[in-house]
C-alpha cells in the first residue's frame, strides 16, 4: 500500500505540475509573442525573392490542364500556363485579352475566331501560335478527363478547334452561348495553351503526354515547375522570358502543412509568408498581431441542405419550406463559422453577375409547424441527414438537427466519408444532405445549372428535382446576349428556386488568409485558383546589425 501510495503521489504531483505549467504558459503571453520572433535567417528577416505558402495540397492529383481540378492543382497550373483570355487583379466581372489580342463571333453565335498575339514562344522555342491553341483544346476534348467538361459542355470536340493560319484560331460550338459564359470558361485552367512539341515528345501509350504532364510543365506562363514532391512541397521558378515581364518573385514555394497549428506557428515565426488554411478561431486570434495581416474575401462557394423530393414528405413544397423556416442561419454563420461565412439564401453568390441578396428566411419554428400541419404532418416526421466526416460538417449537422427538432422534425444524422456520401448522392439515394458547391467559372450559369436544371445530372437531379419552368429559365439565361435581360432572368430564377426549389442555402464562404505584412500586392480572387502570383512581391527588410 505504502509503495503504491508513493507512485500515486508522484503521478498526482507530476500531473499537477504539468497542468499548472500549462495554465501559466497559456495565461501569460509575453510581449514578444505579439511581434514576429527572429526568423531562422540571421541577416534577413525574409528572402524578398521567395514567397512561401503553407497549405494542405495533398488532394492535388495532376498539373495537366486537361486533368487539374482541385484547388492547388488549378492554382499551380494557372501559374504555369497562359490562356486566350483572363481576368485581372481578382476582378471576375470583366474579361481581358491574354494570348488572344481580339476575337469575333459569327452571327449565329457558334463560331468564335481568335486573333493571337504574335512573337510569343514557349521555353522550348516552339512558337505560341494557332496550332498550339488548337492542339491544346483538341487534346482536352480527346482525353475526356476530370476537367474536360469545362470545354465539352459547349459541344467542343477533338477537331472543333482549327488553326486557320499561324495566328488565327477558330472554335466551333454546338449552339450560341452568352459571350461572358464562354469566355469565362476559356479563362479557366482547362483552356491553358500547352507546348505541343514537348507534350508529344513525352507521349506514352497514346496518353498525349498525360502521365508526364502530371508533374511537369509545358507552358509559357510566368512560372515553370521546378519540382513537385507530393509529400513536401511544390517549387516554381520564374520564367525569365515571360512576355509580360519577369515576375519579381523568383521562387514560389508551396509547403505541405496539413496541420493548421503548424501553419500558424510558422507564419508567426516568419518561416512561411502566407498561411492558407487557418480556421476561423485562429484567424480571430491573429487579428491585431503585429506583422500579420488578415485578408477576407467572399468566394464563390456555398453550403446548403439538399432535400430529396423523391423521399416523402419532402415532395411537398410546404414541408421543404418548413425546413427552411426552421434553420438558425445567423447562429450557423456567427457561432459556427465565426466570420468565415456570410448569409446567403439564393444560389448566385455575392460578387457574381445576377447576385440576389434576398434572405427572407430566418428561424421561425412556429411558422414551420404551421406549414407542417397544413401539409398533414402536425406531429413532425423522421428524416435522415447525411453529412461528411469533417469537424465543421459535424457541428453544422448537429446544429441543423437541433434546429429542426424545434419544429418537430426528428433528424437522424448519418456521417459518412465524402466518397461514400457522393456515391449515394449520385444515385439519388440520400434524404437530406449537407453539401457544398463551388463555381468553376465566373459566370452564373455554373451555379444555375446545378441548382435549377434537373435535366443535367447535377445537384437538382440528385435530389430528384425536375421543374420545367426552372429548366427553361436556366437555358434562356445561358443564351441571352443582353446582360441586363440576363440579370432579370436570374433574378426571377433565383427567387423561384429560393421558394420552390429543393435546397435550403445557408451561407457563402469567406476565405480568410493570414499573411506577413511584408507581402505586397496580395489579393484573393473570389473564384478559386485565379490568383496571379506574378503580381505579388515582398518588401525587402534587413535586420540592423
Amino acid at each position: 500500500m505504502e509503495k503504491s501510495l508513493t507512485t500515486n503521489t508522484i503521478v498526482i504531483a507530476v500531473i499537477a505540475l504539468i497542468v499548472g505549467a500549462a495554465i501559466g504558459y497559456v495565461a501569460h503571453v509575453p510581449p514578444e509573442a505579439q511581434e514576429c520572433p527572429d526568423p531562422i535567417i540571421p541577416d534577413l528577416l525574409t528572402d524578398p525573392a521567395t514567397l512561401i505558402f503553407g497549405t494542405d495540397f495533398s488532394e492535388s492529383v495532376s498539373l495537366d490542364p486537361a486533368r487539374a481540378y482541385e484547388f492547388w492543382s488549378c492554382q499551380i497550373t494557372h501559374c504555369l500556363y497562359d490562356t486566350l483570355v483572363t481576368f485581372e487583379q481578382g476582378d471576375v466581372t470583366e474579361i481581358y485579352p491574354e494570348l488572344a489580342e481580339s476575337w469575333e463571333v459569327s452571327d449565329d453565335g457558334r463560331i468564335w475566331t481568335f486573333y493571337l498575339r504574335q512573337g510569343l514562344s514557349f521555353p522550348s522555342g516552339t512558337p505560341v501560335n494557332a496550332e498550339a491553341v488548337a492542339f491544346s483544346f483538341n487534346r482536352v476534348c480527346k482525353l475526356e478527363q476530370s476537367a474536360s467538361w469545362i470545354l465539352t459542355q459547349f459541344g467542343m470536340t477533338d477537331g472543333s478547334t482549327v488553326a486557320l493560319d499561324d495566328y488565327t484560331v477558330q472554335l466551333t460550338l454546338d449552339r450560341k452561348y452568352t459571350p461572358f459564359l464562354f469566355l469565362s470558361c476559356l479563362a479557366f485552367t482547362t483552356a491553358s495553351v500547352v507546348d505541343p512539341v514537348v507534350v508529344m515528345e513525352h507521349e506514352q501509350d497514346g496518353d498525349m503526354g498525360g502521365s508526364w504532364m502530371t508533374d511537369h510543365s509545358a507552358g509559357n506562363g510566368p512560372y515553370i515547375l521546378e519540382n513537385w514532391d507530393r509529400g513536401t512541397e511544390i517549387v516554381l521558378r520564374a520564367n525569365e522570358n515571360y512576355w509580360k515581364g519577369v515576375p519579381s518573385l523568383e521562387t514560389i514555394l508551396v509547403k505541405q502543412l496539413s496541420e493548421p497549428a503548424d501553419q500558424r506557428m510558422m507564419l508567426e515565426r516568419g518561416d512561411i509568408d502566407i498561411a492558407w488554411d487557418l480556421p476561423a478561431d485562429m484567424i480571430d486570434d491573429l487579428k491585431g498581431t503585429k506583422g500579420i495581416e488578415i485578408i477576407e474575401q467572399p468566394v464563390f462557394t456555398q453550403d446548403y441542405i439538399g432535400m430529396n423530393i423523391g423521399v416523402e414528405p419532402l415532395g411537398d413544397e410546404r414541408v421543404r419550406d418548413a425546413i427552411r423556416w426552421s434553420i438558425d442561419y445567423d447562429g450557423i454563420v456567427n457561432e459556427i463559422m465565426k466570420g468565415a461565412a456570410i448569409k446567403l439564401q439564393t444560389f448566385i453568390p455575392t460578387g457574381m453577375l445576377g447576385y440576389n441578396p434576398a434572405t427572407p428566411y430566418y428561424q421561425n419554428p412556429e411558422k414551420a409547424k404551421e406549414l407542417l400541419a397544413e401539409a398533414g404532418y402536425p406531429g413532425g416526421f423522421d428524416i435522415e441527414l447525411a453529412h461528411a466526416a469533417a469537424p465543421q460538417s459535424r457541428d453544422i449537422a448537429a446544429k441543423i438537427k437541433s434546429d429542426l427538432a424545434k419544429s418537430g422534425i426528428r433528424v437522424t444524422l448519418a456521417e459518412m466519408t465524402s466518397a461514400m456520401m457522393y456515391e449515394k448522392y449520385r444515385a439519388q439515394g440520400l434524404q437530406l444532405v449537407l453539401g457544398g458547391w463551388g463555381a468553376d467559372y465566373a459566370d452564373p450559369d455554373g451555379m444555375a445549372k446545378p441548382f435549377a436544371d434537373g435535366t443535367i445530372k447535377q445537384l437538382a437531379w440528385r435530389n430528384m428535382y425536375l421543374d420545367e419552368y426552372a429548366t427553361n429559365l436556366t437555358r434562356a439565361a445561358m443564351i441571352e446576349m443582353d446582360t441586363a435581360k440576363r440579370i432579370e432572368i436570374y433574378a426571377e430564377l433565383t427567387d423561384y428556386i429560393l421558394d420552390h426549389g429543393c435546397f435550403a442555402i445557408m451561407y457563402q464562404d469567406v476565405h480568410q488568409v493570414a499573411l506577413k505584412t511584408w507581402v505586397e500586392g496580395f489579393y484573393k480572387c473570389p473564384l478559386f485558383a485565379l490568383e496571379n502570383f506574378e503580381e505579388y512581391y515582398k518588401e525587402t527588410i534587413y535586420v540592423l546589425p
Binding site: 535567417i41 478527363q145 457522393y422
Partner: protein
Amino acid sequence: MNFRAFVLRRLMLMLIVLFGVVTITFVISHIIPADPIGAILGPRAPDELIEKLRHEWGLDRPLHEQFINYVWNLLHGDLGKSIRTNRPIIRDLMERFPDTIELSTASMIIAVCFGIPLGIVSACRKDKIPDHVSRVFSLFGISLPVFWSGLILLMIFYYRLNWLPSPGPYSTYLRPPPVVTGFISIDSLVAGDVGLFIDHLRHMILPAFVLGFSSMASIARMTRSSMLEVLRQDYIKAARSKGLKERAVVFNHALRNAMIPTVTIIGLNYGSLLEGAVLTETIFAWPGIGSYITGAILYLDFQAVMSTTLLIAFTYSLCNLIVDILYAFLDPRIKYG
C-alpha cells in the same frame, strides 16, 4: 533444423501470410459501397466520365477477374497504378517509404537507448524513487496522445524557444539532394551536403522523440519486468554470493537473459512504426507512408491501399523474422525449428 532451413521455412510462411493479406484487403476494399472514381473526380464529374474511367481502370470487370489480374501483376513486380496520383504505386512508395524508415529508425534508436537503461535502473532500484519515476514516465509515455505531445513540444521548442526547427524534413530555404537511395540523410552525404544532413537530423529530433516516447515506455516496462524476473533466479544469487560487483551481475549475467521479451517488444514496435504514423506525420509535416495510405483510404484508391498494406505486412513479417533469429543469438538454448 538449421538456420538456412529455418529462414526458408519462415519465408514460405510469409508468402502465405502476404497472400492472405492481399486477399482480405481486396475483398474489404471492394465490398465498401462507394465508387473510387467518383470519389476522386468529385461531385462535379459527369456520370459519363465516371463510367468511362471505371472502364479504363478495369473496375467494371468481375471481381475475380480484377483479383487475378492484380495478383498476376504482383507476381511480375507490378504494384499497379494509383487512381489518385495516376502514377505507378511503386514510385509513390519509393518516395514515401524511405522517410518512414528514417523516422522509425531514429525513433527506435531513441526508444532503445533510453528505454533499456531506464528499465534496468527501475529493476535494480525497485520500489525506490528511481523506480517510481520510471514507472510514471512509462505511464505518461503510453498514455499521452501523440497529437497532443507533438504540438506541445513543437510549441515549446520551435515556436517559443527556437531551439529546434520548423515542421518538415528540411529547412524551407534548403533544397533536397539528388535522389540516390531516397533517404535524405544518405543522399545528402553522398552529395557532400553536410549542412543539409545536419539540418535533416535536426528536423528529425522532435518527431522521432514523440514517436519514440511511447515505444520507450513499453520497452522500459518490459525490461523492468523481465529483469526483475531474472534477478530473482538462483544463479544471480549465486553470482552475488561469490562477491561479484552488482554491475557485473546485472550486465554480464542478468541483462542478456532478460532481453528476449524486450527484443520481442522492440521488434513489434519497430514493425508498427514502419506502418507509418499518420498523426506524427501530419503534425511534423513528415512525408511518410502513414499519410499516403490514409489519403488512399479516404479516396478509395484500392490499388494503393492494397499495395501499401502488402508492403506493411511484408515489413512487419520481416521484423518478426529478424526478432526470431536474434533469439538464438541471445539464448544458445533456443534452436531453430
